[in-house]
Amino acid sequence: MSEDLQKEIASLKQKKTGQMYLTWLRFKRNRLSVVGLSFVLLVIFIAIFAPLLTPYEPYDTNPFRRLESPSREHLLGTDELGRDLLTRLLYGSRIALQVGILIVLFEGFIGISFGLLAGYFGGWIDEIIMRLVDVLRSFPVIILAMAIAGIMGQGLFNVVLAIGLVGWTTYARMVRGKILSIKESDYVEAAFATGESTVSVILRYILPNVLPTAIIMVCIMMPTALIASATLSFLGVGVQPPLPCWGSIAAAGRDYITRAPWISTTAGIFIMFTVLGFNFIGDGLRDAFDPTSKRN
């Protein structure tokens, strides 16, 4: 009997559209989020294949061909050191993703862990973490990051640290809120009533239900991270040259806004599309992950 059963179930499973697939279907229905996804995929593609997409090197300067306007040779013109702007922007996607991912990982890890601790255990742990969150949230991210980066010095790592230091609070608050509601839910109580252990409840009941929130958070925080790091570059404490970072390209290009407006503009557009992409995805995921959000 059990073998028949297993076969039957296997065939059922085959026929059945998986949960992930359904989420994807729901996601796909939202046209903007598909657009967003394609932006982001494009950026990832560019980041991986940047060397194949351009004949130039991102660091090759040419003092005699600086600030040239777009031409056949240099599709987006050249920058203030005579480097091919397109090349730098293409390579810049690497830095952008790197910065974005590092920040999101850093703040996400701290934020989600603290959120879990605060939400699950409550009591004084919660009290301490949430007061810390309140304290840090009283500082505008950019401003605190500027102070920190200004003191510790610039560089990619410090930018990540400085932004993440406040950024994690957003995750912590969201995750905590979500956990509080999950923790109160009947199904968690039911789990305890059947004899599940705390660890098992966290792993099987709480985490899977927090995960969508966390994923959405990442998509929402990614843009903030990208924009914040660009702003730090602008304020003079961000990722430093010659790294081809979009933020610093846009920031450096501002001095040339009257003679070579394309430098700042194209870098800004690259940032904008990536950020827009993540925002759209975040929006789409929010709906896609929540099967109950739509009326039956």
Binding site: P63, F64, L81, Q154, Q240, P241, D255, T258
Partner: protein, 488 residues
């Protein structure tokens, strides 16, 4: 007709205290409010024109300086300017409590002696031929009675002087307004009002200049100047003059560094294409350097080895030094100093051709200073500028006992030390210039530092503004003589 002139400053003056200020911007503002004790002419000689002294003299020992003050000068509050005020000003610089950054230049003063109300003699404890240079007597004569009445803080809030313009208001973060002083003793201003506006963002400042929101921007960056000039930006006139300044690469010559080997330094010198650097950041607003002292100065060393680009030679030297395949190193530049950072990146490319892999490291100013001073930066991009004609500052750091020596990467050469000592004691300027030349030639053979270029300053300004030709000069500079400006 326009009677007010707007001046763009990139940094807001800290506080208008002639004794303690350190930033050039404060100097720009005070220059119109106060009168200097003595001034410089176009050649860099000290003169009495436009200053509060009628004449000044040095005794034959070089240790007594006598100043005869002009009579009839009044401060903006109506008080007459006398030798008391000059003495007071000297004393203020000497007062350690007040914390003047120039305090040490005044330590040699033994006494200040007055003869009547208009003659002051400064007696030095030992002869010093460069007293005027070192004590930077472009500084401003202050109203003794007023300051004693309102205190220094009161003065900073409402500074007065005897200059062609008087202070009206400082709206923090926004602007400083000066207005014409009608009772000025000298050349009365034709402009009624000066408005200094602060633009932390360079591009904004340039746009302000282009749209006529301001009329003048002192020490505009070369690139922006070139751009405006090339575009023939409507409504603007253009002028250039050479500044008393040089730009160079410093090496960490301490023993553990690759650059302690002179051949490596020479290789770098042969690899660097100065013309490319100039093209990159200054267009034609610079002169390639030979030695360190700018070419318009009599101490200019025409024959100092200039290391024209020769990559083969560079590779050869490297190989000789034991680095046939080059090595990994780093070139440091302070963040926020656009030209230096850009040039560092260009130098990185140039050095790559001879196999030196130099990483560009940009550091926030304070950290940069720390790191370079501690010898952690193998190469770094430096700048030196002087406001006085004596070029000693350019070369002083080569002396093994100079306090600047470790900061710029240490350098030891007994011949250089001896020459520097001699320069300090040589009263005859022609002879001094000769020594300076000799010194530079030796140091250039050693590539103690590698000078890159001497910058030209270009100013773009409202075309309706008339600024006399004799102000376009490293030692006078238009910004300090706004009373000579006028609208056509």
């Amino acid at each position: 007709a326009q009677t007010s002139v707007g001046i763009a400053l990139q940094v807001e003056p800290s506080k208008l205290n002639p004794i303690t200020y350190q930033d050039t911007e404060t100097g720009f503002v005070l220059g119109s409010i106060c009168d200097p004790l003595v001034t410089l002419d176009e050649e860099g000689e000290f003169i009495a024109d436009d200053s509060v002294v009628e004449s000044f003299s040095v005794d034959e020992t070089g240790s007594e300086y006598t100043f005869v003050i002009r009579e009839g000068i009044t401060f903006h509050n109506g008080d007459p300017l006398t030798a008391h005020d000059v003495k007071f000003t000297f004393e203020a610089f000497m007062d350690e409590e007040l914390g003047s950054p120039h305090h040490r230049y005044y330590t040699g003063i033994e006494s200040l002696e007055m003869e009547g109300d208009y003659v002051l003699t400064v007696v030095l404890s030992e002869p010093n031929v460069t007293f005027l240079t070192m004590s930077r007597l472009r500084n401003h004569v202050l109203p003794k009675d007023y300051i004693e009445e309102v205190g220094w803080e009161g003065y900073e809030r409402n500074p007065i002087g005897s200059g062609p313009f008087k202070f009206v208001e400082h709206s923090p973060g926004n602007r400083i307004v000066l207005e014409k002083f009608d009772d000025y003793w000298g050349k009365k201003a034709e402009i009624d009002e000066i408005v200094f506006r602060f633009y932390p963002e360079l591009s904004t400042a340039i746009m302000a200049l282009e749209t006529g929101a301001v009329d003048f921007m002192p020490e505009m960056p070369a690139e922006e100047f070139m751009d405006l000039q090339d575009r023939g930006a409507p409504g603007l006139s253009f002028e250039t003059y050479q500044k008393f300044e040089d730009h160079r690469i410093c090496f960490n010559k301490r023993e553990d560094s690759e650059f302690s080997d002179v051949r490596v330094r020479q290789a770098v010198a042969y690899a660097i294409d100065i013309n490319e650097l100039i093209a990159l950041t200054r267009g034609d607003m610079a002169i390639p350097a030979r030695g360190r002292i700018p070419s318009f100065h009599p101490a200019y060393a025409e024959n100092a080895n200039a290391y024209d680009v020769d990559l083969d030679k560079a590779r050869e030297l490297l190989a000789e030094a034991g680095y046939p395949d080059g090595f990994k190193t780093a070139i440091y530049a302070p963040a926020g100093y656009r030209e230096r950072v850009q040039e560092a990146q260009q130098i990185q490319q140039q050095l790559a051709q001879i196999g030196i892999q130099a990483e560009v490291v940009t550091l926030e100013w304070g950290t940069y200073l720390d790191v370079t001073a501690e010898g952690e930066a193998p190469m770094f991009r430096e700048r030196w500028s002087a406001g006085v004609p004596e070029p000693i500052g350019f070369v002083e750091s080569w002396h093994s006992e100079s306090s600047w020596n470790p900061i710029f990467g240490t350098y030891e050469n007994p011949d250089v030390d001896a020459l520097l000592d001699e320069i300090m004691q040589t009263v005859d300027s022609q002879k001094r210039w000769e020594l300076y030349r000799e010194l530079q030639e030796i140091a250039m053979d050693d590539v103690a530092d590698y000078p890159l270029y001497w910058p030209l300053i270009g100013e773009a300004f409202n075309e309706d503004l008339y600024i006399p030709d004799n102000l376009w000069n490293a030692f006078r500079r238009p910004i300090y003589y706004i009373n000579y400006w006028s609208y056509q």
